[in-house]
């Protein structure tokens, strides 16, 4: 539209905003060797803290997958001086919340608390105690182990879960990144208190810890917080073994798993991208075009908009220390799964062969670059990025570099990277739903 003078004035008023800038990250090493990253944010009286260790489920003992998750899960189940209920009451009285998560590379705890020292300091002290002096009480372990078994049994009825797990087993048959997909009721029941203690001793090392802090603190307060958080953890334990390399399968496999759901769930994937990948930005921008860009992406256009075959189709990249997966996923009614799979395969093959068009890459760049500030527009989102920068030793300029590196890409960069890195013939495929791909059966189907 052609702006009128009044319109121009208005746009100008809206444009007259602070220049777009990446947050000012400070970093240092704690006395124990832990990496600390801090951004001061004084607008709201809140402090968010993330503490992570090189204790993800890739560190699970090969015969006991599940140890990493149970270890983290039981940190708040009591300490040398506090029982389980006492821990919870203390947290509640401080209006603080602690949560935890485990992924392939890391075990992560997060704390959110008001910035007032009367609640902040005891909350940090409590988190420090949970990490440094866990009791791992036998009775709680038995209870949580059984809850994990039941939760796994339930997830095993979910076609999306079954598809993802089978794909992970195919992609990482012998690599620790496949351990999470090898969890079973038996493996969980083999885990005893000694396993948790040994895991905690070996992997909850302050030297491998990353502390990310965002909130209403001064630098000096943040330094004291980080020291306090790690004070009780013994130092000097040996560094664990380096991660073995990921080997790729020579040819992609197809697995079909029968399931009574009305929809078939399809996933495809292969190990592809690391956090320090030389093709990182070309792969990321390309994935936007192929399947990461929502309604801008080819998979959504082909499967949903043009054919009404699915509610959602997407592809994703999960960069890890080693080669994390490229994955593509969608669900569709069973009698359409053959057609949908053919469309998905053709979409991938065409993208790899020809790359994005100039217009598609321009659109991807515009969205990724223009939308970059949305990725850290809250303390909580920013905290996640600090954690990643710390865990993977990325440069402090990462958040500023990212959009610049995306903006510099050419169509040839993206096409060449995807040609080199994704051979469609090596994609593993899992279809959960039909009894076979030729004659999609529908036991128990209900919808037509």
């Amino acid at each position: 539209m052609k702006p009128t003078p009044r319109w121009t004035a208005l746009v100008f008023a809206l444009l007259a905003l602070p220049a777009l800038a990446a947050p000012q990250i400070q970093d240092w090493r704690a006395a124990s060797g832990a990496r600390v990253l801090f951004v001061a944010a004084h607008e709201n009286p809140i402090v968010d803290v993330q503490l992570s260790f090189d204790a993800g489920n890739r560190r699970d003992p090969a015969d006991k997958p599940g140890v990493a998750e149970l270890t983290l899960g039981l940190l708040d189940a009591g300490t040398a001086t506090l029982g389980e209920e006492a821990v919870r009451e203390k947290l509640t009285d401080l209006a603080a919340s602690v949560s935890g998560s485990v992924d392939a590379d890391s075990a992560t705890l997060t704390l959110r608390v008001l910035a007032r020292p009367e609640v902040r300091e005891p909350a940090v002290a409590l988190l420090a105690e949970l990490v440094a002096r866990p009791a791992f009480p036998d009775a709680v372990l038995r209870r949580e182990r059984e809850r994990s078994v039941d939760s796994l049994r339930q997830r095993e009825t979910d076609p999306g879960f079954l598809a993802g797990r089978e794909l992970s087993r195919l992609m990482y048959p012998a690599h620790p990144y496949g351990l999470g997909a090898r969890l079973s009721a038996d493996s969980l029941r083999r885990i005893g208190r000694a396993d948790l203690l040994a895991f905690w001793r070996t992997y909850y090392r302050p030297e491998s810890a990353v502390v990310a802090i965002v909130g209403d603190l001064t630098r000096a307060e943040a330094e004291r917080l980080a020291e306090r958080l790690l004070a009780g953890l013994p130092t000097g334990r040996p560094a664990p073994a380096a991660l073995p390399g990921v080997s790729m399968q020579a040819a992609g496999r197809l697995r079909v798993i029968a399931h009574p759901a009305s929809q078939a769930h399809v996933v495809m994937g292969l190990p592809m991208i690391t956090r320090h990948d030389p093709d990182y930005y070309a792969l990321m921008a390309g994935n936007y075009v192929l399947g990461g860009g929502g309604f801008d992406a080819r998979l959504m256009r082909e499967l949903r908009d043009r054919r009404g075959l699915t509610y959602g189709a997407s592809s994703s990249l999960a960069p890890l220390e080693g080669a994390g997966p490229f994955e593509l996923a969608f669900s569709t009614r069973k009698d359409k799964v053959g057609e949908a799979l053919a469309v998905a395969r053709a979409t991938v093959a065409d993208f790899v062969a020809n790359g994005p068009s100039e217009a598609e890459l321009a659109q991807a760049k515009a969205n990724i670059v223009g939308g970059f500030p949305l990725r850290f527009d809250s303390n909580r989102k920013l905290l996640g990025y600090l954690g990643v920068i710390g865990r993977y030793e990325l440069p402090l300029t990462f958040l500023g570099d990212y959009p610049a590196r995306i903006a510099a890409l050419t169509v040839a960069d993206v096409r060449d990277a995807w040609r080199r890195r994704l051979d469609p013939a090596r994609l593993d495929t899992v279809v959960v739903g039909p009894t076979s791909l030729d004659a999609p059966g529908e036991p128990g189907g209900m919808t037509r």
Partner: protein, 453 residues
Amino acid sequence: MKNWHKLVAAGVFAASGATAAAETVEATLPNGLKVVVRRDARAPVAVSQLWYRVGSVDEVNGRTGLSHLLEHMMFKGTRKVPAGEFSRRIAAAGGQDNAFTSRDATVYFQQLAADKLPLAIELEADRMVNLVVDDEAFRREIEVVREERRWRTDDQPTGRLHEALYASALVANPARHPVIGWMDDIRNMKADDLRAWYRDWYAPNNATLVVVGDVDPQAVIALARRQFGALKPRPLPERREQREPEQQGMRRVTVKAPSELSYLTLAWPVPRLESLTDVDPYALSVLSELLDGHDAARLPRRLVREKKIALSASSGYDPLGRGAALFTLTAVPAAGVGLDALEAALKAEVARIAKDGVGAAELARVRRQLEASRVFERDSMFGQAMQIGALESLGFSWRAEDEMNRRLQAVDAAAVQRAARLLVDDKLTVVTLLAQGMKGRPAASAKLEEVSR
């Protein structure tokens, strides 16, 4: 929105002793469009939400799912902006956009760099009046929504439980219909049904525009005037309230599903918040917090950790909505525990409060949680916009948050006890999801309050 405290937690800074007072400005255009803008300059971004007061509680049987289907079609082009262009232009501006439909409202939103806000407002104003519902695009979208329903409800044990719960705890009130609609209603929908629904409800006098971000509020209001100001208000269809007839005895419903775990939900119809000076809704909210609002709350503590009879136990109550409100308790039995025993244990927790009340320390703990969550919720601009939009579209001012918080903080032990006494057997609906293993259909966990595009 599931929890009261999440709704009222954000945004009103004056009463909480916070450092920076937020600048919130509102205006109502001559055509009835309400605009509320809050400046939050922590990042150079903005969120824009356009709330239409139309949702599944406005639908009638045989036409359920209309609001949600129309929400899908709102991305399929106008006389000026071709199909798919809305999202493409927002994405090209670095933005994200989507929409969701609830029982009460249909909401379209964009998150983008603050200087790109004029694009979002211009596009929203265009599709408020210029939508083209193309027959062929509509036919394809019906299939998309049927896939959405299969994925969200039919293939999910908890989705089916939730649907059965509302369909059986309520017999007349339209909150009994699923937001996404019954499968046959989706399949039988006509493009003309959507065109009529659009003409009926999409008008400036049935909408609220909410913007939160690094913007000058007066400039945003001027922008809204410019883009929406020329649109004509229209008379809206009459909204006939269908009060739920009083329940005269306990109901029991069983749903079978291909699940490994069984689920049990107890639901009572209870008052919703109709006026700020109501009493019970505040007390019921505090009761829900006591049962399941924090780390040391009663249900998980007693049923999961102490007695070990449940794998999970939770409560739910949303006082804000145009449809009938339910107070719910949901639990999953631990291995070897019968559903009867679990039901008795859940009721016993309510009865204990009805008989003995609650202690001052326990109440103080809930109040502290509520107060802190108000501060925490300010971290999310999207969350702030949601709260403003929800209150405004229900007929409360965004300013009501303050008073709601005061009244919530003032709930005493006697009020909580009275709230627990509302939960009597004669008003109870018990819905049981009986696990059938993998013989039937599969599972996962999801709660269906809102469905998005």
